[in-house]
Amino acid sequence: MERRVVITGLGTINPLGNNVEQFWNNLIAGKSGLKKIDKFDVSKITSRIAGMITNFNSEDYFDKRELRRLSTFIMYGLVATDEAVKDSHLDLERENHERIGVITGSGIGGIEEIENQHDVLREKGIDRISPFFIIKMITDMIPGKISMKYNLKGPNFSVSSACASSAHSMITAFSMVKYGYADIMVTGGVEAPITDLTLGAFCSLKALSTGYNDIPERASRPFDGKRDGFVIAEGAGTLIFEEYEHAIRRGARIYGEILGTGATADAFHDTAPAPRGEGGRRAMELALKEGCIEKEKVEYINAHGTSTKANDLNETLSVKDLFGDYAKKLAISSTKSMTGHTLGASAAIEAIASLLTMQNGIIPPTINYENPEPELDLDYVPNIAREKKVDYVLSNSFGFGGHNGVLLLGRI
């Protein structure tokens, strides 16, 4: 049994906005959500900037008892999901709860809690560790909490593949609906990595931008010749995947269809992409094959586009290798130029951007694109959003460990 899968609800909280509308408006305005970090001492860290959620007051969303049991990343996941569920206008009272599941992704989960409780362990002793530590730290508490809040009793687990985590959560959720294991899946990803341990660790890997600490809004510059690493960011994105006939029967608003997916491994290196991004290329090929879409029909690629030297070069080469002469005719942009890199949440947030691109006929730009490099010669939609009717989008995500996840989305 193979069924069509459509998207009927969206929710997000990220550096560009605390809901989908704010996010989209800032995205097509080409605004940057990146700022100087002010929540801890950054004087000894080489990358001092991040994409941070602002104007978020947790007490507006959760009561006192809940707040003691929630960590930042789980709060973000619940907030984004609340928007997506409301946006879907699902009447949950009338649905079969056993046919609704939840799969979300996170790269590093509750690392902030690990840091906090490790301090408690060292400073106060092992018997002072919080009874809430585990439930605030493990990544699967996001789907767990969502299932409890909405009484959703279908498939429920989390997926982790670093910066591709939510790509793989969506790929898995898609399969659940396509092959009949569930009728509706709540899916997406979450990350809250802005802590000194995480910043320090990614700095040690030499992965982060360090040359734009005084002008954070200029720091994420995917595909630009003066890019020097990614800018870490926090956020969450939730999407409601629904079986097509089910969505039609209830008169749901349909944002688009998931036509195909591709998941591959580089089997090459811990952090570096395979030469010419061949793993990513194969993932794009698989998504097109599953969707039965000729590659010349793809008008837009929402790139992984991290702003690191290695990713942006190899992703560009992979697009050229797959699309040949057509590569220069399609548009490819990186919304990370504005959001920063939300790691395990990025694919979900970018899927939302891709769906709104098709719905609104506007392609978000790659901001800070100023210095072309000879080998990076595609149409990156530089600096200004572009009006264009788009029917098919590929959304790319690649994670440390060599995990590649690609979604092929179509307009309905």
């Binding site: 006192k64 008892r65 009874p131």
Partner: protein, 81 residues
């Protein structure tokens, strides 16, 4: 502050109830919308505030406001009222 008043203030702060609702037989789980983890978390804070150790086996028997205030009076020697 007398021990009972002090403890009531802590319960109001933690569980979001009004002070009038707290009776001797107010049960943390049954009446204060707490589960076993909330109670454990609260007891750990109480240990720190009163600078005492409450062994797990004894903590398990502290189910009501009355149980806890009585236990703390014995353990700390502070007046209940």
């Amino acid at each position: 502050m007398a021990l009972k008043d002090d403890l009531k203030a802590k319960i109001v702060e933690r569980f979001g109830v009004s002070v009038d609702e707290i009776k001797e037989d107010t049960n943390f789980v049954e009446h204060l919308n707490a589960d076993s983890l909330d109670v454990m978390d609260f007891i750990m804070d109480i240990e720190q505030e009163y600078d005492i150790k409450i062994p797990a086996t004894e903590a398990e028997s502290l189910k009501t406001f009355g149980d806890l205030s009585q236990y703390l009076a014995e353990k700390t020697g502070k007046p209940l009222n």
